[in-house]
């Protein structure tokens, strides 16, 4: 098994990525360099790497289609969407009458997002169309109301990061419960390829324990975030 030496050579691109991202070079240049490092190490010619990269870039254009939302999100933001989202938080009251905290607000969004994703409605959310214009400003407004006297710049970044994180975690560990989701079909296909026929329903049912665990872990972390914000940071 000494062939491993050559087998592992293409991993050089992974090394290029890690180092490039760590020293924070321009990420686009790092990725292009990683493609060439790995491709050349695997014995492709420079032209072959260029063609493979070009073809894959072209085939993956749908990844960038999310930027179609920028005209409408931008128009709404310029007309004051984020200000109005901040004000709206003041109207959400807990049963007791107090304001929603950051953790409670994000946990409510988390639960909604996870349930709708489990029903296949993954489009009801997202970073560009939901988190930036609505969820993050709401979370910041809740934070400004609970921090003494307002969020510090570090706390503000922390609250924003948690708004984005709640969307990601909720959708990742919700969508797999939906039987027609791509990953359920992929799992079924791979298992079938190995000679095991499995129903999509059983795959999505076995996604439930992890979904519950994700809600528990992330929910506790969100509520602890409140405590962290209330603590008077120096």
């Amino acid at each position: 098994m000494h062939a491993h030496g050559t087998d592992l050579l293409p991993l050089i691109g992974v090394g290029v990525l890690v180092v490039g991202f760590m020293v924070r070079l321009n990420p686009l240049a790092v990725v292009a360099a990683a493609a060439f490092a790995t491709g050349l190490a695997a014995g492709l010619s420079p032209l072959q790497v260029l063609s493979a990269l070009g073809k894959a870039f072209n085939d993956n254009r749908y990844v960038s289609l999310i930027w179609l939302v920028t005209p409408v999100v931008g128009v709404l933001e310029r007309a004051g969407l984020r200000d109005r989202a901040r004000e709206a938080v003041a109207r959400f009251r807990r049963p007791g009458g107090g304001l929603l905290s950051v953790g409670q607000l994000l946990l409510s969004y988390f639960v909604l997002r996870q349930i709708t994703a489990a029903l296949g409605l993954t489009a009801l959310g997202g970073q560009a169309q939901m988190v930036r214009p609505l969820i993050a400003p709401m979370a910041e407004a809740a934070g400004d109301a609970q921090a003494q006297p307002r969020l510090t710049p570090d706390q503000r970044d922390l609250v924003r990061a948690h708004a984005a994180a709640s969307d990601n975690v909720a959708v990742f560990f919700g969508e797999d419960i939906f039987i027609a989701f791509g990953s359920v079909l992929l799992i079924r296909g791979v298992l079938a390829g190995g000679g095991h026929e499995v129903s999509p329903l059983s795959i999505s049912l076995w996604a439930l324990p992890t979904a519950g665990l994700a809600l528990l872990i992330h929910g506790v972390r969100l509520l602890r975030l409140d405590r962290r914000l209330r603590r008077a940071d120096p």
């Binding site: 321009n26 063609s51 009801l124 872990i217």
Partner: protein, 319 residues
């Protein structure tokens, strides 16, 4: 019949508009270089299907060169979005904002069912087309609604798209470029190399080690590739099926479901999954580009441990 090319053309027109807005702005420093980036992006979306692979590759290098040369650094929109007038009434803002996801979702379900003259309206070839056509329709409806409610100047959509695109900067292109890198990795045998490493890491193939290496391997492989879908077939064929199912008679459905979700734990912590982790950091103007990953990492670590335990207790047949 509508294909993805129609949606790409719409995006191409948007990027061309952004390029013009940047290039024609006398305030923009090095306006032509900055406009060039969005111009090349527009060319890719309008003509990429007609260009050859090598030409598309050259296009990629052009985009990367412009970005590395500073075409996206320190733009005016770093100062944040301008609200140069009184905020509009809340409902005129929330209704169009919520129109995007609602129409996108409904259209992604309805459009594939529509047939025109016996042929489906949407080409059935591209699996992502219903979602993407739905998104495009949601945006168009919401934009029409917003413009008629708010009565903004007609240049506003392109100018504000430009503001957002410039605020996001290089992060706008990174997810697509990383997806392309994933394809080059796959072609170059990175997957085989990683599964060799994972198999070599297997200390003694008892039940627990096998589950541990499978779950951990899914997460690590996903960190490298940025995508659990790329990791799953390799790890499952290399470790999951022969050992967990083959040797210890584990339940393949349990293994598959929890294995994939272990991969998703990796997605939460890797810059390779830029659309989830780096793009939001740019969208929210975080000072730390890894801020979202930092917020997610504890959840990812605890959940990976939980997944490993769940699989160990659930996958094997009861004695």
């Amino acid at each position: 019949m509508i294909t993805l090319d129609a949606v790409y053309a719409l995006a191409g027109l948007l990027f061309m508009g952004v390029a013009l807005a940047v290039g024609l702005d006398p305030q923009e420093r090095r306006g032509l270089v900055r406009a060039g980036f969005y111009f090349l992006l527009a060319v890719s979306f309008l003509l990429g299907g007609q260009l050859g692979d090598a030409a598309n590759g050259a296009l990629v290098l052009g985009l990367v060169a412009l970005a590395a040369g500073g075409a996206l650094d320190g733009t005016e929109s770093d100062r944040g979005p301008r609200t140069d007038y009184q905020p509009a009434p809340a409902w005129k803002l929330f209704v169009p904002a919520l129109t995007i996801p609602v129409v996108a979702m409904a259209a992604s379900l309805v459009l594939p069912q529509i047939r025109v003259g016996g042929a489906p309206l949407l080409s059935p070839v591209a699996k992502s087309l219903p979602a993407m056509a739905g998104l495009a329709l949601g945006v168009l409806v919401a934009l029409g609604l917003a413009m008629s409610l708010l009565r903004r100047p007609l240049t506003d959509p392109v100018q504000s798209a430009r503001g957002l695109m410039q605020a996001v900067g290089w992060a706008a292109l990174l997810p697509q470029l990383l997806a392309a890198l994933g394809a080059v990795f796959a072609l170059s045998g990175v997957g085989t190399a990683v599964s060799h490493l994972a198999a070599a890491a297997l200390p003694s193939p008892d039940r627990f080690s096998v589950v541990l290496v499978y779950c951990l391997g899914m997460a690590l492989f996903t960190v490298v590739m940025g995508n659990a879908f790329a990791a799953f077939p390799v790890m499952t064929a290399g470790i999951g099926l022969p050992l967990i199912v083959g040797r210890y008679h584990g339940d393949p459905a349990v293994m598959g479901a929890i294995g994939m979700l272990s991969g998703f734990c990796g997605t939460l912590v890797t810059p390779m999954a830029a659309n989830f982790n780096l793009v939001p950091a740019a969208l929210l103007q975080l000072r730390d580009r890894y801020g979202v990953i930092r917020a997610q990492a504890p959840t990812a670590a605890l959940l990976l441990a939980g997944n490993t335990a769940l699989m160990y207790f659930l996958v094997f047949p009861k004695p």
